[in-house]
Amino acid sequence: MEGFADFWATYSTLIFTVGIHALLAFSIWLTLACGLLSLANAAFMGIGAYTAALLTLQLNWPFPVVLAAGSMAPAVVALAIGVPTLRLSGVYLCMATLAFGEVSRVVILNLDITGGPEGLNGIPLTTQWWHIALILALVGYGLARLRRSRVGRAFEAIKEDEVAARLMGIDVDRHKLFAFTLGAVIAGLAGALNAHYTFFISPREYGFENAVDILTMTVLGGISSLIGPLLGATILTLLPELLRFLHSYRLAVNGVILVLVVLFLPTGLWDGRRIRAWFERRGGGR
């Protein structure tokens, strides 16, 4: 038992981080499922984290309320910028979200209430493992149901061909806004949870590089099913830990993996169809 206690003491934060990254990967998955490439989720995470941390530090509100506020604040912002930006397509949308992310980071950096570059410290340790596990399970379940629902099918149609979807009578704009905003909610929630087990947050954690990290995890795992983001988040969070011996080169490994996956496994590591086909071939070949 002491072995487990030691293991948990050493690695609990790492495991929490896997959970948070999985939530973030889900949030990007959602937007990608609708054909949107958004780099804004790191900024939404930041907005959620700061909202939650400030409420805890200044007003001492109970944790569930703080979490709720942390997920609603980015939603409000997402709605506000979503309406004008979601008209843009593909690459332009991607860059608009990138721009939004950078502007938010600079705003947070320059406000006094957010502590500026010194960030907020002394955030109490309130997140427990079961918070993350429960929320992850609920979000995963919710997204799985969403996928199979009419909304999910509409997303699929929009992703395939937006023009055709519109002709079919799908309210494309409303659906895109929904995906975008819900993604912001999940990202904000992840941020709020993260703030309450790392004691400290600063604007630097919610910038372009972080948005790229989340995107990488999701692309790596594959977006054809919800297992992909989970897998991608787990691998890319744990891998650097295992590769400590490579020193500076261990981050290069992430880059290599990304390139290899894009080239050879375009549907990501976990693609239900490809795996089934592989099994069938093995079975049939006998």
């Binding site: 490439l37 843009l88 860059m95 721009a99 502007v103 981050l251 894009v262 375009p266």
Partner: protein
């Protein structure tokens, strides 16, 4: 003070334009946002530094080294990564993601090879002259950068408009399939463009590393983000756009910092980017992204 700030805007803008030229060229011909352009920019700087410090070579040799090293990396990225993705007709966000991977690899490899300490070119290679005209101060290197930016833009623009090669490239930019039907060696020109654009990036890296007296593995990142703003402002794929967009951004940043507040300086580029995307996504000179087959 106004004249000095105008000059400051001009020089900063030329720096951005120099970077954006290669960036926009790749977009125009290959229709790919090559996010590894910042990394090849940085590698070019290191290549020149290596040659100048280890072989006591003059600066122009360093520039050639930068062009070659960056160029071949750009070529490699095209042959090994972009070409298979083209063959597979991948949606254009996928190559962008792959080039992000290339950036991660290059940045960390250089970190491992050269360390994170800021390096600089030895003093002997720095052009030293300073000029003072009235109240305005300017360095010879800055004049050089402005001149090179304008010159390169003019050369590229002329080449694209008047030469056979340029016409072929413009045909590809319109529609690669049609160009192929016309007998143009599309793949070959893709490779050439990747090489040339990356080489341009490498040269920009050397000049900027000289001007700002600082070379680090991370120097490509901030300028890449500014580069995105520039090419959208100026119109993606347009050479004049790269120069005009770069100058516009340079002036906008300098004047916001000089006359409003230096705190918002960083946000200016992205605020502008956001606005332009909402109002006129094709930028000043650009055409819309959709390409006919």
């Amino acid at each position: 003070m106004l004249e000095q700030q105008l000059l400051n805007g001009l020089t900063l803008g030329s720096v951005y334009a120099l970077f954006a030229l290669g960036f926009t060229l790749i977009f125009g011909v290959l229709a790919v946002i090559n996010l590894s352009h910042g990394a090849v920019f940085m590698v070019g700087s290191y290549a020149a530094l290596f040659v100048v410090t280890h072989f006591a070579a003059p600066l122009w040799l360093g520039l050639i080294a930068a062009m070659l090293v960056s160029g071949f990396i750009g070529l490699g990225v095209d042959v090994l990564i972009l070409k298979p993705l083209r063959a597979r007709n991948a949606p254009h966000l996928i190559p962008m993601i792959a080039t992000i991977g290339v950036t991660i690899i290059l940045t960390n490899a250089i970190q491992g090879l050269f360390g994170v300490e800021v390096q600089r070119f030895p003093e002997e290679v720095l052009p030293a002259a300073d000029f003072v005209v009235g109240e305005v101060h300017v360095r010879a290197l800055e004049i050089g950068i402005v001149a090179i930016a304008f010159l390169l833009m003019a050369l590229l623009f002329f080449a694209l408009k008047k030469t056979q090669l340029g016409r072929a490239l413009r045909a590809i930019a319109e529609s690669p399939k049609t160009a192929a039907l016309l007998g143009i060696d599309v793949e070959g020109l893709f490779h050439l463009t990747s090489f040339a654009a990356a080489a341009l990036g490498g040269v920009a890296g050397v000049l900027i590393g000289l001007d700002f007296n600082a070379i680090t593995p991370f120097m490509g990142q901030p300028i890449l983000l500014k580069g995105v703003a520039v090419i959208v402002l100026g119109g993606m794929g347009d050479i004049r756009g790269a120069l005009i967009g770069g100058l516009f951004l340079g002036f906008a940043e300098v004047f916001s910092k000089g006359y409003i507040s230096s705190q918002i300086g960083d946000a200016v580029a992205f605020g502008l980017l956001f606005l332009i995307l909402l109002i006129r996504p094709s930028g000043l000179f650009g055409r819309v992204l959709e390409r006919k087959g």
